[in-house]
């Protein structure tokens, strides 16, 4: 125990002596949290619209003004040839263009039907899908209006309306949804990099030899290396949650004790993976690449950016081994829904076993004799 305390003391001395690292550890994640929370927003606003109006009628004007009134679209230009519109899309200036054909109004009034053409830049599939859906909704709305006018008020038909209510995040606030998840990523990044670089750094500068020639026990060394980063990551989580609460108004519905209790186990997993990486590599560069390999997979498959439920079955199987996915889910469950210990007991059990396996591996793979 005493030996472990001496290692922890040494690690803290080294961390706090390195002012650049200190800033990286504590300042950078907070800045990232604030920037990413604003940027990672699924709602597609500011779709650049180009209009080709061949009709120049009263109806076409009404349709255009409906687009202008929408908060999703920005009318960035109009022209009279499709070629000009294509050019705009090619240059990336416009995301979609709407073509209103000649005789649009006349056909509507005389034949009771008219065509419109929407062309969407679908390089970004998500954005294209949403742009298409928003545009279609506006056109349908326009359609309903003119039908009502044509038929007169008496003819309004019975229609089914669906009233939906959004639980746990009633205003569909993206901050509420994203901030707890982003926080998980930042704590994970800092934790895994710190621990992943640590032992291998001592290998590089040669001090590990001096440690290995002492009677220190392997578990003492690993625990002494793990605890300082565990404490730092927990503090970081606390700071992040405070920022989430002050800046983004994240609701803390569930127990904070539960969040930190789970984080305590979760961080053992992340740091254990980092230390294991540190024991299998010889240089910080190698460690960095391996850590990135896992982090990219963990982050992109965490369910933060794309729902796990919409992944193919084999990918869903992989996410069962992704610690980040568990913590993202627990954060959302506890902070937003107020889930209790019983609700997340499966998550806790999985993380506990995971922690034992990876830290066991780290101790086992750390060799005092080569």
């Amino acid at each position: 125990m005493r030996t472990i305390l001496f290692i922890i003391r040494k690690e803290f001395l080294q961390i706090f002596r390195n002012k650049v690292m200190l800033a990286l550890i504590f300042l950078m994640p907070i800045i990232q949290l604030i920037i990413l929370a604003h940027a990672a927003d699924y709602e597609v606003k500011n779709i650049n619209l180009h209009i080709v109006d061949h009709d120049l009628s009263q109806y076409s004007q009404r349709l255009i003004s409906k687009f202008q009134a929408s908060k999703n679209f920005i009318l960035i230009g109009s022209s009279f040839t499709n070629q000009a519109a294509f050019d705009e899309i090619q240059k990336g200036e416009a995301d979609l263009f709407l073509e209103i054909p000649v005789d649009f109004q006349r056909n509507l009034l005389r034949d009771k039907k008219a065509g419109l053409q929407l062309s969407v830049d679908a390089v970004n599939g998500v954005k294209a899908g949403l742009a298409n859906a928003y545009a279609t909704a506006i056109i349908q709305d326009f359609n309903a209006e003119i039908r009502a006018e044509a038929a007169g008020p008496a003819a309004s038909q019975a229609s089914l309306t669906i009233a939906s209510s959004n639980w746990f995040n009633p205003e569909l606030n993206y901050f509420t949804f994203m901030v707890p998840g982003i926080l998980v990523l930042l704590v994970t990044l800092v934790g895994m990099f710190l621990s992943g670089m640590n032992i291998v750094k001592e290998k590089e500068i040669g001090t590990i030899e001096q440690i290995n020639v002492t009677p220190i026990r392997k578990y003492q060394f690993i625990v002494g290396k793990l605890l300082p980063f565990w404490i730092i990551a927990n503090i970081e989580l606390a700071i992040g949650l405070t920022v989430g609460w002050l800046v983004f108004d994240i609701p803390f519905v569930g127990s904070l004790w539960l969040v930190f209790g789970f984080a305590a186990i979760y961080l053992l997993v992340v740091l254990g993976i980092g230390l294991f990486i540190s024991t299998v590599t010889e240089t910080q560069q190698q460690a960095m690449f391996i850590a990135w390999f896992f982090l990219i997979i963990f982050i992109l498959m965490s369910g933060l950016f794309t729902p796990i439920e919409s992944m193919p079955p084999w990918a869903q199987e992989i996410t069962r081994f992704n610690p980040v996915a568990y913590f993202v889910e627990v954060m959302r469950m506890v902070l937003l829904k107020g889930s209790g210990v019983m609700d997340i007991q499966r998550h806790i059990l999985v993380m506990l076993s995971y922690a034992m396996v990876v830290n066991g591996l780290a101790v086992w793979n750390y060799r005092k004799t080569s």
């Binding site: 040494k10 040669g206 030899e209 001096q210 020639v213 009677p215």
Partner: protein, 245 residues
């Protein structure tokens, strides 16, 4: 009296390359045993097998009476090691390095405090206790590293080129420190390629290409090779084209 170190046909191979080839020797307690050889002769590999950092490929060896295969952890309690690579933490102060190494060797806090005082006084570094190690001159760092390596009073200390790159005056002081410890009964196992330092050793073994080419007192070696200095002995043994049995 049991020897401090015994090695019998100790061998280390890395793939096809044999770094240490069947070396056999004994080191007596309290002896200053010099391990000479050109760069790449296998000195460091030999030391690493003895102090438990590297597992031998074949052969036998004991250190402080313990087997190097089975009892590496018991050996580690009884030895000190100063590696060729600089082994103190440069971003810690002199004081913090002493505390850390004292701590992981399990010295009581009282002893660490006491040792710290004594050690700093012996080195004349009292006013540098709070200086970062990286801002100390190389010679001072090496003397500090040696003092820290023997802080837990080991029976045997392994020094791997402790004076590499150090000025002659500091080297002299360093050897005075070594003599002082040897007089108090510590066994010193030291590698060097400074031939004048070989003269300070009780016995010297000269390694060439992973083998021990000669082993005796400096005086006997000079007589054997009809040489005036250890330098000539060394050149005689390592001259290109010369074959060894």
């Amino acid at each position: 009296m049991l020897p401090a170190i015994t090695a019998d046909k100790l061998t280390k191979r890395f793939g096809d390359f044999t770094a240490v080839n069947q070396i056999s020797f004994e080191v007596k307690k309290g002896e200053i045993f010099g391990f000479l050889g050109a760069n790449g002769a296998g000195k460091t590999t030999a030391i690493r097998m003895l102090n438990g950092l590297s597992r031998p490929t074949s052969g036998q060896a004991t250190v402080a009476g313990f087997d190097v295969y089975r009892n590496t952890e018991k050996i580690k309690r009884r030895i000190g090691y100063m590696s060729q690579k600089f082994s103190l933490y440069e971003d810690l102060t002199v004081r913090e390095n002493i505390q850390f190494y004292g701590g992981i060797y399990g010295l009581p806090l009282k002893d660490i405090r006491h040792q710290m005082k004594q050690l700093l006084a012996n080195l004349g570094m009292e006013s540098y206790a709070r200086t970062l190690v990286k801002s100390l001159p190389l010679g001072w760092r090496q003397k500090l590293a040696f003092s820290i390596a023997i802080m837990h009073r080991p029976e045997i200390v392994f020094l791997d080129e402790p004076t590499g790159g150090v000025d002659p005056i500091t080297r002299r002081q360093f050897w005075e420190m070594i003599y002082k410890e040897a007089n108090e009964g510590m066994t010193i196992f030291v590698t060097t390629h400074y031939m004048d330092e070989a003269e300070y050793c009780g016995r010297v073994s000269i390694m060439v290409d992973g083998r021990i080419a000669a082993l005796d007192t400096p005086k006997a070696l000079k007589e054997q090779f009809h040489a005036d200095s250890m330098n000539d002995v060394f050149l005689n043994l390592t001259r290109p084209g010369r074959q060894h049995a």
